[in-house]
Amino acid sequence: MIELHVNGKTYTTGAPSERPLLGVLRDELGLTGTKYGCGEGVCGACTVLVDGRAVRSCVTPLRAVVGRAITTIEGLAPKDRLHPVQEAFLEAGAMQCGYCTPGMILSAVALLSRHPDPGIAEIVRFMDGNICRCGVYSRIIAAIRSAAAKMRRTV
């Protein structure tokens, strides 16, 4: 049995330790906000935070996250509240189908935790592993910048 710490709760799974985290989150824990897009670590749809860093859960085996704090989109903000990045995505209209959105938001949160005031070039570099097939990239950049400004004001 493997213990996982997800969104502040502890879960146990009987899945083998080399199994990717993504399937366990979605199918066993019912946390379907984390999406499958490629299964090879190149689209970012499955991004979760592990100890605050953005990780592609489709290529992350369970053994790599044992004992570490995993945050999925469901656990980003307390119930009925939104994280400033979520708010900024809504305000900027930074989604169409919204399928890339959870991965985009969590990647952005990881970026802002390291670089509270990223320039466009920095955002592009950090986010380049996240695909939005609907092509709302410019709005996502705008959302990240406005979230950054908002978060700097509140700390």
């Binding site: 199918d27 999406k35 299964g39 689209c43 189908c97 097939r133």
Partner: protein, 697 residues
Amino acid sequence: MTPAGLWSHAVMDRREFFRTLGGVVVLLTAEPLEAQQGSGASQAAPRDIAAWLHIGEDNVTTVFTGKVEVGQDIRTSLAQAVAEELHAPVSSIRLVMGDTDRVPFDMGTFGSRTTPFMAPQLRRAAAAMRQVLAELAAERWGCSPEAVTIEAGLVKGPAGKTATFSELTKGQRILKEIGESTPLARPEHWKTLGSSVPKANGVALVTGRHEFPSDIRLPGMLYGKVLRPPAFGATLVSADPSQAERIPGVTVVREGNFIGAAAPDEATASQAVAAIRAEWKLTPQPRAAELFDYLKKNPAPMEGFGGASRHVVGDVSQGLAAADHQLRQSYTVAYIAHAPLEPRAAVAHWENGKLTVWTGTQRPFGVRSELARAFGVSETQVRVIVPDTGSGYGGKHAGDAAIEAARLARAAGKPVKVVWTREEEFTWAYFRPAGVIEVTSGVRRDGIVTAWEFHNYNSGPAAIRTPYAIEHQHIEFHPARSPLRQGSYRALAATANHFARETHMDELAALVGMDPLEFRLKNSKDPRLRAVLAAAAEKFGWSRRQKASGTGFGVAAGFEKGGYVATCAEVSVDRTSGAVRVVRVVEAFECGAIVNPDHLRSQVEGCIVMGLGGALFEAIEFEDGRILNPRFSNYRVPRFSDLPQIEVVLLDRKDLPPAGGGETPIVGIAPAVGNAVFGAVGVRLRALPLVPHGLKT
């Protein structure tokens, strides 16, 4: 009768049902629509009711429509449409979409038809609903309906009397049927339509709460996997499932060419199909190297939409004789993939002989027919539900995943979920058609195009006609047998036809030494086309901008599905590395009166970005019936780092009915970029993608 069974009953029963619902129901009865293009199989289905609205006792107005939400934001725009005519806040409108048991028949969500056709129908129903509410209030207050006004969801009468919708509808059982002639609010008086109402379910998306088709889970559900053939055209000769069947919990299903397995979890299902020993018979498949030749030599006899079409005016040979220069060129486009970020997915559940399937498709009723046919049951025994889906772009018309899940579920006796892998999505979905386009033209020294002959092989007839005023034309579409499975794509063949046409126009401009913008204006009489060209050029600074060395400007324009577009692009070319970078794109778009400016702008931006992929580098590579690049790691799609500076100019024509905006804005980008490369380095590119491996000079 429950709402779930509603649509499986005869027309009279349905009327009876509506009456028992309570509150007020408005039905819009419509003339049958003409056969809609682009849907594949079309159905003759009863269209007695085109739309219905219901106000219950909770002040919420529920709208029932067969359209689906795949990211184009019609959940928002249709709510706006109803709110506008009902004089109610958008937040009080709820849409039930794409559930075949609860919504009236609809051909599908494609072809930019929601805004010009569905929205007016819902608006008529809402206007009639408002009238019913006014009459109810008039009766209650003993005044005339004209003395009643409705504002922001509140009904107001003489002497300060007010009532909410539900106060009036409580205890009522009113069924009102209306036709298509109900008058609508004019765009210049719009309050809700025409404004940037935020996305309807945005909060559910940013919190991960929204359940996409691939997120649906049912109690006791199994996971299904299909054993795919090694190549297109392969048939299953024999299969030994005994090893797979020994894995606990696994059910293996073989029916004809289909073989797959269901298991309690996805990993076990994958393990099971890997353990099936199958023998396939391969058939020779056309080679990629001869693709364009093949398309020209293998005509396909097709009827109706997608069939051959021919448009001739004047006499091209006369036009050529009157020209100072003649030009003959050929253009090609590759197969490309929609690659929606959510792959095909379905959850199927059989209960007492009735099949329910949750799946992501743009044609819920079409998929219902596919399922009914596949399992030999009547359509009334099948319910298809389409949760808001992780995009489609014309790529999710068919019901493959739904049929696979249903097949496995029937054999396993439990609900089954099938989610395609990215590789399956790239291989077993369908592609935007590849094509060859040959153009022969004549132009006078003064820049007037005198002759235009245009032959499109296989890629499709959408937007094949030229918007330019040319005296002698011969335009023809030649359907062909496609080596790969092909189907709809955002804007269909309008992208290919615009690419060929607008590149050729640029070549003609160069031939007579004229500015490409001036050349287009000179040959265009259509004021709407001229208006978008002027708007894009103005914003871009076409005549003022200085070109740095290695950079070039390009322009392209066109018309399709009620929308006019003009695109200006600036590219920079690194001559040593061959790298081509699109630096800036300005696009002007006009599709009549604007319904939601922010969402329209987003669609235009998205079209530009998606279009850049097909323009620059997207191409499906294949050999021997296999796809060679079925992954995001070897099929490149636009990313953040490909993003140019994008400026969108929207022209709002309040005097024209709104048309859809999710497709046409994609058609200008490829020719504008190609023409800009010519402007930068004098190299003419005539194949899409333009520079999959950089520019070779």
